[in-house]
């Protein structure tokens, strides 16, 4: 029953998001037709033509009805800016975003959790102070600035934009190497900025477990410190971190607007930015539905997984 409730709740949130998105973005200032045609010889008739093509000449309730009924049929509409179906435009950008943000999140989670465990285990040691200090600093640094700085100090070792060069050989190995080459700077930037979050959560939740009686028992059994940490302390302390990781995985799809902008990475974050400058209503709505959908699904997964990882949390 409760499981069905969870699913129902998730579905309801998605519908709410779709409805909210429609009205939310209409409040964004600006007229897409005016901003698109600015600077060109444009007549009032041409503006009216564009409005009609985009369906912006219909009353708002009608626009909403059209949007909602097509959404139920899986049609997200046509982007004003790119003049292609929104679903196609989003799908095309999904891969690059998953690659960049996925890679960076995996590295950041691994590195962050590992550093967090080490730092907590040897609390107040030099290692703890240095890692906590460095990661907090990086977390506080503006992403934009860090990205530009990395681009500058690495000179011409790494490319400054995009996912691949235009003149790379078409074979798979060259292309893969080229993408890897382009991936380095943006993912390093992203890892540096988000790593601290995982590290700090892991560190503090492990610190809470440090003086638990079961650890004394484990030590009394003669276990090596390393084993006490790995087999006993960490499994109990990892739950908050897992929640966080899943929330973050949900947000992977939303891309990393700043990082993608700095490095012109052709992902969803960059698309969001472009859509806002329109404002490209249908594209914005589509992006909101897709990214919110990912968060809802990941939340649901985190809920379910908690039950598996921690028998005390009963889902069903």
């Amino acid at each position: 029953m409760r499981l069905a409730g969870r699913f129902g709740g998730a579905a309801l949130s998605l519908v709410m998001v779709a409805v909210l998105g429609f009205f939310l973005f209409r409040v964004v200032p600006g007229d897409p037709v005016v901003s698109m045609t600015r600077g060109r010889p444009t007549t009032a008739a041409m503006q009216a033509e564009l409005r009609a093509q985009f369906g912006l000449d219909r009353p708002l309730p009608e626009q909403f009805w059209n949007y909602f009924t097509s959404l139920l049929q899986g049609d997200l509409g046509t982007s004003f800016t790119f003049r292609r179906p929104v679903a196609d435009v989003i799908l095309e950008r999904l891969g690059p975003t998953l690659l960049l943000v996925g890679t960076a999140t995996l590295i950041a989670v691994g590195l962050g959790l590992w550093l967090g465990v080490r730092a907590a285990w040897r609390r107040d040691s030099g290692f703890d102070r240095v890692t906590t200090g460095v990661s907090l600093t990086l977390w506080a640094v503006p992403t934009f600035w860090l990205g530009m700085l990395l681009m500058m100090v690495t000179g011409d070792l790494f490319p400054s934009r995009g996912m691949r060069d235009t003149d790379t050989a078409p074979d798979f190995v060259s292309q893969a190497l080229d993408v890897g080459h382009h991936l380095v700077l943006p993912s390093v930037t992203l890892v540096a900025v988000v790593c601290a979050e995982y590290m700090l959560v892991m560190r503090s939740s492990l610190l809470e477990e440090m003086h638990a009686p079961y650890l004394t028992t484990a030590r009394a059994k003669g276990l090596r410190d390393d084993v006490v940490r790995r087999r006993h302390a960490v499994p109990n302390a990892v739950l908050p971190a897992i929640t966080l990781v899943f929330l973050r995985f949900g947000l992977v799809v939303a891309g990393a607007i700043t990082t993608e902008t700095v490095f012109s990475w052709p992902g969803l974050g960059l698309l969001f930015y472009d859509a806002l400058t329109g404002p490209d209503y249908l594209l914005l709505q589509g992006l909101l539905v897709v990214t919110a959908g990912a968060v809802v699904v990941m939340n649901l997964l985190a809920d379910l997984l908690h039950g598996v990882l921690d028998p005390r949390v009963k889902v069903v």
Binding site: P29, P41, M46, Q47, A48, R83, G110, D156, F158, D274
Partner: protein, 558 residues
């Protein structure tokens, strides 16, 4: 040899009937020739697809000749029928008028009596018949297109008549074109032209420094200065086609005379507008805000367009003089109040645009000196557009790029451009509406003697300057940079101090000449590639080692 160009604006469509973004139009110029063109050297009208043209004595019928021998990129001959097909498509299908409809509104009909002759009849005499910025498409390809609205024009390679052929377009990443071997002026001197997309102009400038791209434009003064003395990079400080203006709400009204917006009523008084203009030190703005990379503003047409540009005479000139401005405001019936101010005004500009940020601070001081406290609001591009469209501003920053033929920029200030009663459908720039100006506008549009037309256009600019619905602040230089170790020269338009990119033509790219021995930075690139590989390898190794260690120690447990 590849020419790589950085672009910072998205591409909306490769369909020339739909593409409205500047970047798309620029690439469209490379793919399709127009009926006529402008020379690179002095921006005069020259051969496009047509090499001869003749208006009838009543100026209502134009006959263009499309000479034999020009070919589409697929080898088919270019004929008058292609031209007639393109214009007729626009006349019959409103979707096909999306991007360039303004050029055909005055067309009566277009016919091609034979393969060489195009006859265009207009409703009224139209002087801009040699300035039709309409890409001509191949009939044999486009007559098979069923719906213009959904046609992406991505059947690679895209058949065209321009110096380059579109071969690949990856949205948000890059666009590739190849030199058109059939181009009637002769093929370009290099093989491929790639446009790579940058979201971030700082990164584009860095990429130029590293040799990742060969050509970058629209740099900010600071970015331009940062490339000074950089090995392998040559900078081009060109006379720009853009101007920046300070709009002064002259009491905005709709086409039907209804007031619209909430401009301060004091600004309806032309004496007040003149006083404001007089209190702004244009020289200081050019020096301090444009860092010298601009020319002081005067008329609506920038000096790069030579004969069309207007400069005030000694008597007309409004000199920077705060004392005179104060006296004028007193005389206009706006005395200073007890606190020393006259009336407050709002200034709206764009957040994140360096010019607006700095110039607004400067204007705050200038206006303060004449007793006008300024409330500065810097907002997003969209908000700024919304405020200027709805006339909810007192003062606002704006700017325009202009064309060789001044008709468009002049038309923006006619009464008819104001919005209808519902506040929609307006394309006015500054809500200017002036009988004298409108009369002159109509005159110049049917004045076929160029000398006389130039005179009328200058009178219009003088009238605009005198009535001040906006102060033209400056004509910015176009700041460009290129890799001179890869490409020795580019054709600029005009030849003296002209631009490479964003021309009224395709000369900049088409005329690029590769440097004698091009040293593309392949060496360092391989180092980078190897490094990329190494980083990936290390990452994999770390994961593997950690996993194995895990297993190994797991075996040692109690």
């Amino acid at each position: 040899m590849i020419l790589k160009v950085a672009i910072v604006q998205q591409i909306d469509s490769m369909n020339p009937f739909l593409a409205v973004f500047q970047s798309s139009t620029e690439i469209g110029r490379l793919m399709y020739d127009y009926l006529t063109a402008y020379t690179a050297a002095d921006q005069t009208v020259t051969e496009g697809l047509a090499n001869k043209w003749e208006p009838s004595p009543d100026k209502l019928t134009w006959t263009f000749t499309v000479p034999e021998g020009k070919k589409w990129s697929d080898g088919e001959p270019i004929t008058a029928r292609d031209v007639a097909f393109t214009y007729n498509l626009m006349l019959s299908d409103s979707v096909a008028r999306t991007a360039n409809g303004s050029f055909v509104t005055n067309f009566q009909d277009v016919t091609a009596p034979d393969d060489r002759t195009v006859v265009i009849r207009t409703k009224t005499p139209q002087v801009t018949m040699l300035a039709l910025d309409v890409p001509i498409v191949p009939k044999h390809v486009w007559e098979k297109v069923s719906g213009i609205k959904d046609y992406a024009n991505d059947q690679m390679p895209v058949v065209g008549s321009g110096p380059f052929v579109l071969t690949e377009h990856v949205a948000g990443q890059f666009i590739k074109l190849k030199a058109n071997k059939n181009y009637w002026r002769g093929a370009a001197k290099f093989d491929e032209l790639h446009f790579v997309y940058f979201q971030n102009s700082d990164a584009a400038v860095q990429a130029l420094g590293k040799g990742e791209v060969d050509l970058v434009n629209r740099m900010a003064p600071a970015q331009f200065d940062s490339l000074d003395g950089k090995a392998g990079v040559t900078r081009n400080k060109a006379q720009g086609r853009r101007f920046t203006e300070l709009m002064i709400n002259p009491g905005a009204q709709t086409r039907t005379g209804e007031p619209i917006g909430d401009g301060n009523p004091a600004l309806k008084d032309v004496r007040v507008r003149r006083a404001i203009a007089q209190a702004v030190d244009l020289d200081a703005l050019v020096q301090r805000v444009n860092l010298g990379y601009a020319e002081k503003g005067s008329g609506l047409v920038p000096p790069v367009f030579g004969k069309w540009h207007w400069q005030p005479t000694e008597q007309e000139q409004r000199r920077f003089d705060p004392a005179a401005a104060n006296a004028a405001l007193d005389a206009a019936g706006f005395p200073r109040k007890a606190d020393g101010t006259r009336f407050p005004l709002r200034l709206i500009g764009r957040a994140g645009r360096a010019y607006d940020e700095q110039a607004s601070e400067y204007l705050k001081r200038s206006m303060g000196e004449i007793g006008i406290p300024l409330d500065v609001r810097l907002v997003s591009d969209n908000q700024l557009n919304e405020a200027t469209t709805a006339a909810t501003y007192d003062l606002a920053f704006s700017g325009w790029a202009t064309n060789i033929d001044p008709d468009f920029i002049l038309s923006l200030h006619t009464c008819a451009q104001r919005p209808g009663a519902d506040g929609k459908g307006g394309t006015t720039d500054a809500y200017f509406c002036d009988e004298t100006y409108d009369k002159l506008y109509a005159q110049q549009l049917s004045e076929f003697d160029e000398g006389k037309r130039v005179e009328i256009v200058k009178q219009m600019q003088a009238r605009f300057y005198d009535q001040v619905p906006a102060v033209i602040l400056s004509y910015e230089n176009a700041l460009e940079g290129y890799r001179s170790d890869h490409f020795a020269t580019f054709t600029t338009q005009p030849a003296q101090g002209g631009v490479i990119m964003a021309q009224n033509g395709m000369w900049g790219y088409y005329g690029a000449e590769p440097a004698g021995r091009a040293v593309q930075a392949q060496g360092s690139r391989w180092v980078g590639l190897a490094l990329g590989g190494a980083v990936i390898a290390v990452l994999v190794a770390v994961v593997v080692v950690m996993a194995r260690r895990r297993n190994a120690t797991a075996g040692e447990r109690e």
